[in-house]
């Protein structure tokens, strides 16, 4: 197979050649032909693939709010709970509590108003998104299987509480391939404050080939969009002149090596990875440079605002990526779940919900509303599905120890807009007493008689 390898060596044949010769003859020829076919199919694992059904949506933008964006204080109107504000909270004595004893019932800290033609009730925490309600479908039936942040993040992103499963973006990329030659199909825009709970596994490929995993871009304005995009300054000058010839020589070495190892799709995939890396050196700085956007566009996203600016920039980047053919963009509105003296770095408002939701609410409200408006203006909302999800809601009560403080618990929920929106504006409702801590507890709750006949209980 490769005589050059044998020259000057003690061993006369390598392992691969030996096995080929051992099983040689016609079987070997047939096998080689089959491997070559499989190899050709695997050459570009990101080639676009036709779906089984013609889709309306071409791209997905998912806004993920790590921590607990409280459903009670956002889009899940609960007049019965408001009526019971301050009354003793009685969930039947069967609930176990995580970090505190239950205090009295606590409805939304923000009043609700009706908005849009649909008359949807939205809390005053989201005045700008409230203007978009006629485009939004709200899904209230989602729930988690874990009360802990890492597993709950994995649950929301992969459908399983254990790590090791592909994220939604990885599945989409695996199933449909990439529409963009110059950018990855699945791009992640983490909060510039840091990674979400669980870290990079949230956009991992799990057991799928690694080529389908999400590519995170650094969203910190002024920083390089990708680590190691170029050599560090200390090496840059020495290497600059040879980059093009170097890529050609590397390709020559790798192509020859791959020809000697038919049937190994990873070798081809790695050659493609180096080619995409070279194209990223041009495309990543271009897509993340928002200076070319008009002044009104920069104003729409609030780029200059100290608190809202970073998330606004993430949303603007998402639009720019989708415009350039990226299929799945995930934006994180919030970072790791740690306590902070001033504001929690994500939506997990354990100490002071009014303080922390009061901070994060306007950030999400402004950026997401700007994104929807911008996509609509450009005609992209017809082909772009926008999803907003979180890890948990909160329980309908305060902590017993100190009044006025609620503990958020625990079911993912969200809304979606555009693209192939097919569900009714409000798919399901939760009971006034939702959200318990685990799926088992949800089942316990659901067996109780409803406390408010106007709403149905959550699905268990």
């Amino acid at each position: 197979m490769n005589p050059s390898r044998c020259l000057g060596h003690q061993r006369s044949v390598n392992r691969r050649d030996f096995l080929w010769q051992l099983g040689g003859g016609l079987g070997g020829v047939a096998l080689t032909a089959m491997m070559a076919e499989a190899n050709a199919a695997a050459k570009n694992p990101l080639a676009p693939k036709p779906p089984h059904f013609a889709p309306k949506a071409k791209a997905v933008i998912q806004i993920f709010c790590p921590g607990g964006l409280s459903h009670i204080d956002s889009w899940d109107y609960k007049p019965e709970l408001a009526r019971r504000n301050g009354q003793p909270f009685d969930a039947g004595g069967k609930l176990q509590f995580f970090a505190s004893k239950p205090g009295s019932c606590q409805g939304s800290y923000w009043p609700f108003q009706q908005h849009g033609q649909c008359g949807r009730w939205i809390s005053d925490l989201f005045p700008q998104l409230a203007t978009c309600v006629d485009d939004i479908a709200f899904i209230h039936s989602m729930q988690s299987k874990s009360a802990l942040h890492g597993p709950a993040m994995f649950m929301a992103n992969t459908g399983f509480i254990l790590p090791g499963f592909p994220s939604m973006g990885a599945w989409v990329t695996y199933g449909l391939g990439s529409e963009s030659d110059n950018l990855p199909a699945f791009v992640v825009l983490p909060d510039p404050r840091g990674l979400p709970p669980g870290g990079v596994i949230n956009w991992g490929a799990g057991f799928l080939p690694a080529v389908y995993q999400g590519t995170p871009l650094n969203t910190d304005a002024g920083a390089a969009p990708i680590a190691d995009l170029f050599p560090p300054k200390s090496f840059a000058d020495a290497l600059a002149s040879g980059e093009k010839e170097g890529r050609e020589l590397l390709r020559e070495l790798n192509t020859q090596h791959a020809a000697e190892h038919p049937g190994n799709s990873e070798l081809e995939a790695r050659i493609s990875a180096y080619e995409l890396a070279a194209r990223l050196q041009l495309s990543a700085p271009e897509v993340t440079d928002v200076r070319g956007e008009t002044e009104s566009m920069q104003k729409l996203y609030g780029l200059e605002h100290e608190d809202r600016g970073p998330f606004g920039r993430q949303c603007l980047l998402a639009r720019r990526l989708v415009e350039r053919g990226v299929r799945f963009v995930q934006i994180y509105c919030g970072a790791e779940n740690t306590t902070a003296k001033k504001i929690r770095p994500n939506w997990d408002s354990h100490e002071d919900l009014v303080r922390d939701h009061g901070y994060w609410g306007p950030i999400l409200d402004h950026g997401a509303a700007a994104l929807l408006q911008d996509l609509r203006q450009r005609g992209l909302l017809d082909s772009t599905l926008v999803i907003c999800t979180t890890e948990f809601g909160r329980q309908p009560r305060r902590r017993a120890r100190r009044g006025g403080i609620t503990i958020p618990v625990h079911s993912p929920r969200g809304w979606r807009v555009g693209g192939s929106r097919a569900v009714s504006p409000t798919a399901r409702r939760t009971s006034w007493v939702s959200r318990p801590r685990s799926i088992r507890r949800i089942a316990t709750i659901c067996t109780r008689p409803r406390c408010n006949s106007s709403v149905s209980t959550t699905r268990s």
Partner: protein
């Protein structure tokens, strides 16, 4: 190290640690093979791939080295599929 993403390619190409290792690699080659460029290239292939380079490989590599230096070649060898995957 068997992932096939563009980010891994960039890390192996441009991360400071990898570039320092490439520089150390080229110093070792110079130490062991002397100043003769073809001898250096032959030694670099032996060390990286545990086999002698073919005539075509040596010739392409020599052309590259003349313009861009031995350390740049060593960087490429550390990025080659044959180095990354053990057959």
């Amino acid at each position: 190290m068997t992932t096939t993403t563009a980010l891994q390619a960039l890390a192996l190409l441009n991360n400071e640690f990898m570039l320092k290792q490439a520089a150390h690699f080229s110093e070792r080659v110079e130490r062991e093979a002397g100043t003769d460029p073809p001898a250096q290239i032959r030694r670099a292939f032996e060390l990286a791939f545990l086999r002698p380079g073919t005539d075509t490989e040596i010739s392409s590599a020599e052309k590259f080295c003349t313009g861009h230096g031995l350390a740049a070649l060593c960087r490429l060898l550390l990025n080659a599929n044959e180095f990354v995957y053990i057959d």
